[in-house]
Symmetry: C2
Subunit: 711 residues, 2 copies
Amino acid sequence: MSEVDTAAVRKVLDEVRAEGRDSLTAPEGKRVCDAYGIPTPREGLATTADEAAKLAEEIGKPVAAKIVSPDILHKTEAGGVVIGVDGADAARAAYDEILANAKAYKADASITGVQIQEMVGGGQEVIVGATTDGTFGKVVAFGLGGVLVEVLKDVTFRLAPLDTAEARSMVTGIQAAEVLQGARGAEPADLDAIADVIRKVSQLVTDFPEISEFDLNPVFASASGAVAADVRILLETEERAQPVQHSQEDILAAMNRLMNPRSVAVVGASDQAGKIGNSVMKNLINGGYQGEIHPINPKADEIMGRKAYKSVGDVPGDVDVAVFAVPAKFVPAALTECGKKGVTAAVMIPSGFAETGNQELQDEIVGIANEYGVRMLGPNIYGYYYTPQNLCATFCTPYDVKGGVALTSQSGGIGMAILGFARTTKMGVSAIVGLGNKSDVDEDDLLTFFENDDNTQCVAMHLEDLKDGRAFVETAQRMTKKKPVVVLKAGRTDMGARAASSHTGALAGDDKVYDDILRQAGVVRAPGLNEMLEYARGLPLLPTPQGENVVIITGAGGSGVLLSDACVAEGLSLMDIPPDLDESFRAFIPPFGAAGNPIDITGGEPPSTYEATIRLGLEDPRIHALILGYWHTIVTPPMVFAELTAKVLAEARAKGIDKPVVASLAGDTEVEQACDYLFEHRVVAYPYTTERPVAVLGAKYRWARAAGLIG
Amino acid sequence: MSEVDTAAVRKVLDEVRAEGRDSLTAPEGKRVCDAYGIPTPREGLATTADEAAKLAEEIGKPVAAKIVSPDILHKTEAGGVVIGVDGADAARAAYDEILANAKAYKADASITGVQIQEMVGGGQEVIVGATTDGTFGKVVAFGLGGVLVEVLKDVTFRLAPLDTAEARSMVTGIQAAEVLQGARGAEPADLDAIADVIRKVSQLVTDFPEISEFDLNPVFASASGAVAADVRILLETEERAQPVQHSQEDILAAMNRLMNPRSVAVVGASDQAGKIGNSVMKNLINGGYQGEIHPINPKADEIMGRKAYKSVGDVPGDVDVAVFAVPAKFVPAALTECGKKGVTAAVMIPSGFAETGNQELQDEIVGIANEYGVRMLGPNIYGYYYTPQNLCATFCTPYDVKGGVALTSQSGGIGMAILGFARTTKMGVSAIVGLGNKSDVDEDDLLTFFENDDNTQCVAMHLEDLKDGRAFVETAQRMTKKKPVVVLKAGRTDMGARAASSHTGALAGDDKVYDDILRQAGVVRAPGLNEMLEYARGLPLLPTPQGENVVIITGAGGSGVLLSDACVAEGLSLMDIPPDLDESFRAFIPPFGAAGNPIDITGGEPPSTYEATIRLGLEDPRIHALILGYWHTIVTPPMVFAELTAKVLAEARAKGIDKPVVASLAGDTEVEQACDYLFEHRVVAYPYTTERPVAVLGAKYRWARAAGLIG
């Protein structure tokens, strides 16, 4: 960006720092804005009445005159502000008046001068700001000014820096965007000018990380541009700790070892049923893991038919992963052994660390891990699964339905819910990973692996916080271009956040910041646990839609109405059916059926009507996704519908046509079996709900749009 | 209300009507407001310049002068408005100017005079209005004025008339209510004064139904009151049809016959499998209905072992209900037979009426039914179930899990989803009723029955429209004081509404009107089909909470965070645990467990910890509802948790303590069985979701609050 003058900003900030201040005066703020081309009112500093008059004349419009003094903070109270000053004589008079008032207010005040400033106004008042978020670092904010919007909290955030397109998405992304776009015949504001201000602010705080807070409030946005009428800049008073950074290559190498280990040691392996070290051994062996398994136990020679070693150090050959199943107090010594042995990754099942208040012990093991370069999962986790290796390094039970979804959870309870749900729905899984206290390995380490893992097509993550939000966003932004990432962010509300901090000691960030920035990263946010699980189950089954035209084909008019409602709730576009296509559909349905969209084929129709209309929906290239509403009748029983749907889809796929198809089945309990069958044939189908299939399709669309995959 | 002068309003309206107008002039509007004590600016009509001067002097503040002429609609365009007129001389000049402008604008305009009006302003601009809704009749509206709120659609509706408390709930019920309550240090507006204006408007449009539209926009609301600066009143231009009204006694008598018939005739009964008339016969017989069953078929002597009659008229003795299973074209004749026979209710399964465009045939059968006083269910329905009578008058399959929930649906597809869901969840049902085209019997008829039916504890209704919204609200308001009513209103969005009108020909009302007025009626609105079904299943199991204090007890901290999120989403209040109670809980949980709320008992705890904490939660009278978060462990397996919870609850109930308890079970598939067990013991419990149990509890609270059952 050639337009910026970083040296000028550096000079201002150095001056402020030199004076021991952590906030900038208004003229200093203006110098900073000028350096980055952020439009502010024309103004100048007058140190005599004549200078004031000259400035007012140059500006040629009514001006405001304001005292500038480091000793006077409340300018208005001191009589230090005169507005609506029109012309040279009035400016001269205002100057004298302000100085007299200031001296009366505080006789010994050091007076820099009087600021003579163009009065701006008109158009809409907006706010552009930047702040330093504990999770994400520099973020920019945008909203409409005024008490109403502050009450309604209509504001949006993004990670800084950002480009013009992203900035533009903020301007049109607030609820009241219509106001700026010229609601009710008002003149539209120059949205590009507003976006430009946002972009420049994002660049400024990125270039000068010591700017902790930056506020342009108000910015007057009109058809002729955006002018910041007031600027407030605060500087950091202390250094912020930077998170430890690993290189992409290092992360990938370590995660590859963790997920595809040649050998696993179980520290605390046991023959005694009910012990964690016994469950882990059983699950590794019974799960079918083909690498070497080394039980570590100082008191045994053999465990479950495998030679036991007193220490990891005694194991011959390399050990890629050590799974810990010993009480917390024994961890430091055993971890040191692992470090000396050169173990790549330690899986810390034990609890009794930060989550129980023992931060000291956690810091100790993190220190050991860092010293020896051991990457550490946990502590306080159930372990992890990686099904391509038949690897079940947990104290739970093996899981064997292989598939494309990787799931992670910060909480053990949620991990168990993932396992139960996966098993009951026969969800194909590549990995299930517990993250627990996240003392080392966190979401972006795992994302880096899954991004490059051909066995994984979709990732779903439960998290309560992010240790390094910026690293997560960077990884997710890359990853979500290729594969969907679903996030369940717990602690989304104040009340929830309170519970989060008592649980993990993690301070959950403001939810609106998370919400906007996760979206910026291309992540699909799940509103709840069940949605996260259903998205994870359904997204990999659905092909990516090639466009926005969604069509509902339904046997039940009532379902059609509810499916339409759901489409609106999910931001899907019901296609406006062109006349020729309408006619083609009408050829298959009774004369009283409703074409248009939903296409209501009516309830008493035979299988051939479903078949013909679904085929047409798949084959017409103008349609991009289908939502089916099935109504259980004697004429077309549930399994007949399921089988014909699967058949028509298979025929279309054989012709190279693959569109997302979801279905809602209304009927007696036989529809449950039909839904299972449809899921097996890559149709996301649910009984007794019209919302859920549409929600999964909506999630697929949100991902595909963010990834830029829809024309 | 002694304050109103109905005669004055009658006089104004009659004058307007006499002149063939359908809108009131501003002075006429003011006379109407004055008659109902609705504050407007002081003003008067001047017919000379001197009168204008005198009025301006009397008002003693700046005034606005505005032309009054039936021939000049666009006053400003005509140069007919002067604002900021200060003092007698200025008023005289303004008068002359306006008259000159008016004559120049339209030489032959009839000029009534010039309105001299106090200029009001300051405070917040609000809008108070009333309109005539197609579904609900007279409704009042309230919102904040200005373009922002029109963009954000922050407006609320109620049925007119309303009392002061209900009007007050509108003022504080908009999203931006804080603005009126003094957000950010602004002076709060006089909320009672605003509410008073709303109440008076609601009374006015009720007293004078010919007022079709009434707008006070803006009303200036400040600490010193609320003054309507502009009033716009439109009158009906044609008569509106009033829905047919039955007396409460007549409705109840007819519905009692329908639900508890002594004899049922099946018109179109058949021996031939696959025919609807065969399915209905089978279901009546196999369902166990003990009353008389009479097959009607002109071509048979006996059907399924019962004597068949050629016509209903041939049946000896009374026939309470005739179930129709003949093609549409045969309905009129057979219905006439029923009318002559004195049949109480006709159940019209056949389709081929308004839903296929044949409105004429539907009108014909409605005419016949009205003529003979036969109440008619449908047409275009699956029939109905009433389990206390083992009555299954449908072409579906019998349902035999008796219980307290009655469900109705406008759509047959949704009816089938109800049946399947009920069967798979073993939901205890009293009735399932199809309403279809609702040509006669509608939701309020059924509500009247269920209100008085001891077998029904909760009603859930799927509807796309209401034929008579006002009758529904009146019945629901009475009913919901005693029993919860859940409504799934389909067609909630524009897109959905479009589908509704193509489905039933019913014009779905604006969703916001439905939303507010259903809430006013005490109805719990379900956001989707699945929620309607889950609320119906869960609400009757939960006792009514006695207060707002909700406590979460969880073995999984991660579930605790998500359950807290869900509480906020559902508007539930997590109890602020007092120190003594906190100490009592702490006595049972590990030192690193988190007391407070959620109470995190931690994951590795034995059954005794769950038991002790749940018991304490039930026995402490300050706690009103419990949310349990279970985490599957070896120490406390799912069924052990389920059984101990049921046991502790039974003990508490034996002591007369009954509180709503819901549970989220995180674990492997055994939690599914545990949830079934818990449901059987009146704990609303779900696996793999934290949201659903809290949503059901939230629905119970919404109902209980609206019914005034929570202190």
